[in-house]
């Protein structure tokens, strides 16, 4: 059974449709990469998966024991966060809030979970440091650790490698890959980085006005859309 099942979903704002007829499913342990040009509704789709927005029509169902609150989300950074006085530990532990319900404070198990996740992502030594003084790559790891505290099943990543240098980007993708294969966590990622998508993803969802492709990566590379899009990307790389 799939963790997420998306049936005939239309997305948009104020009645204006951005994407229509989205149909896809995400199985446990898979790595789905969403690609497509800017403004094609990738971020909107993510917000809809997280129930922050309602779809215009269609339905999204969660299955396989996945609950709404158990999705780990890595959002794009906001302006507020860039000069926010907070220590790394304070931010990571806020990922445990979905376990608290009405309990006002964190318990021992949650504090241990925070340390484990920071260790897993190699940021344990930064625990007491101020978030705004970290490098872009370190900041993304902090937010990823927070997402891991919220879930053991599904990570939703919105441009996890944007705004960081290429070495840190590569490390970030490796880390996500490791979480997916060794940690058995399902990954849904929005990315502009086609080469990374093609390297790590098991499935591809190519979104435009209407969904152009959904299926496995190999199927995508063989499809018409995939051939055109990836060829264009290579040409762009050549020019740059």
């Amino acid at each position: 059974m799939s963790q997420i099942n998306c049936k005939n979903v239309c997305l948009g704002y104020d009645g204006n449709v951005i994407v229509s007829n989205l149909n896809f499913r995400v199985d446990c342990g898979s790595y789905l990469c969403m690609i497509g040009e800017n403004g094609t509704g990738k971020s909107t789709l993510i917000k809809t998966l997280l129930k922050l927005k309602a779809p215009l029509s269609g339905e999204i169902t969660l299955g396989d024991g996945l609950k709404e609150k158990e999705i780990g989300y890595l959002p794009q950074q906001t302006m507020v966060q860039r000069d926010f006085p907070a220590s790394v530990e304070e931010i990571v532990i806020s990922g445990c809030l979905n376990k608290c319900a009405l309990r006002p404070f964190y318990n021992k198990a949650e504090k241990q979970l925070v340390r484990d996740n920071m260790e897993k992502l190699g940021i344990l030594h930064l625990a007491g440091r101020c978030y705004r003084e970290l490098s872009g790559g370190q900041q993304q790891r902090v937010l990823l650790a927070r997402a891991l505290c919220a879930t053991t099943k599904l990570l939703v990543l919105d441009e996890p490698a944007s705004g960081i240098d290429s070495k840190a980007q590569a490390e970030m993708y490796e880390l996500i890959h490791k979480l997916n294969t060794e940690g058995k966590i399902t990954v849904i990622m929005v990315s502009h980085d086609l080469s990374a998508a093609l390297k790590y993803a098991t499935h591809i969802l190519h979104v435009s006005r209407e969904p152009l492709y959904f299926g496995t990566k190999d199927g995508y590379l063989a499809s018409d859309v995939g051939r055109i899009f990836t060829a264009g990307e290579e040409k762009n790389d050549g020019n740059a």
Binding site: P75, V80, L97
Partner: protein, 282 residues
């Protein structure tokens, strides 16, 4: 020594003790939520609400009810809720809406007081409620008890919801994705701010309240780097400034509200310098 003698002499008067107790409590409450307001870019809401509270006070004075606190509190809390929802569905942009509401409250408030006030000294009354010049020294025992109860409520609420308030302040989208009712907490913060503003009107007057809320947080953020230390530092510095301000004003005969705010401003400058030094050292 002469100064200490003078102080201990003043301390024998209940009104000075009342002023100190309420002043310190109000300063504590207002500083707790300062960081959240500043970081969420909600500072202007505090400013707007204080003007609304002035308008509400004018209405209360004109209607001539015995307990004007209740009317002022109701109107200000309702406005807080209104301003917050205006900010969310931006028909009129949030900051413009606040500016509009705050100047109209000031204008209507002053007009009402001029037209209907029974008091002989209208401009004196207005000056008092804008700058809080003497009202803190005329508090009754009942006022002090109300203030103590409300302050304890505010501090307890802040303690209970500290982690949630942090999450909603740092990253509202993530908080909502993990099932936190961010709107509810925004509302809670707005209502508490309204309560604090009404409380603080007695202390510093409605024009200077924002300073009481925002200065301690801004000072703390110059130097401290974790949310918890910022909150603790702003609480401590706010309490010290309020106590110092009240004592100085009693000794030197300066207006209470502006002395406290001046102390806050001096502390802000000191903290900025310390912050600069720390950064240079690195």
């Amino acid at each position: 020594m002469a100064m200490l003698d003078k102080l201990s002499m003043y301390m024998q008067y209940p009104f000075v003790r009342y002023a100190l107790i309420t002043g310190v409590l109000i300063a504590l409450c207002s500083s707790l939520f300062g960081a959240t307001l500043v970081l969420k870019r909600f500072s202007f809401i505090g400013d707007g609400l204080s003007h609304v509270a002035f308008g509400a006070m004018a209405i209360a004075a004109v209607v001539g009810v015995t307990n004007d606190m209740l009317i002022i509190l109701t109107i200000t809390v309702l406005s807080a809720v209104g301003l917050l929802s205006l900010g969310q569905h931006a028909g009129i942009k949030g900051d413009a809406a606040v500016a509009m509401i705050s100047v109209s409250s000031l204008a209507f408030g002053y007009m009402l007081l001029n037209m209907f006030s029974a008091s002989g000294n209208v401009s004196g009354d207005v000056c008092t409620s804008l700058f809080g010049s003497t009202s803190i020294l005329t508090l009754s025992g009942a006022d002090v008890i109300i203030c103590i109860v409300l302050s304890i409520t505010v501090v307890v609420l802040f303690g209970l919801f500290y982690n949630k308030i942090f999450a909603v302040t740092f990253d509202e989208t993530f908080a909502r994705a993990t099932g936190i009712h961010a709107r509810l907490y925004n509302l809670l913060v707005a209502v508490i701010i309204a309560v604090i503003i009404v409380l603080a009107m007695n202390l510093v007057g409605s024009l200077l309240i924002s300073a009481l809320i925002i200065f301690p947080a801004l000072s703390a953020m110059r130097v401290f780097k974790s949310f918890r230390s910022v909150i603790l530092c702003s609480a401590v510095s706010s309490v010290i400034c309020a106590a110092m301000g009240i004592l100085i004003s009693v000794l030197a005969g300066t207006p209470v509200g502006s002395t406290i705010v001046a102390a806050d401003a001096v502390v802000f400058i000191l903290f900025s310098l310390v912050g600069l030094l720390i950064r240079k050292k690195k």
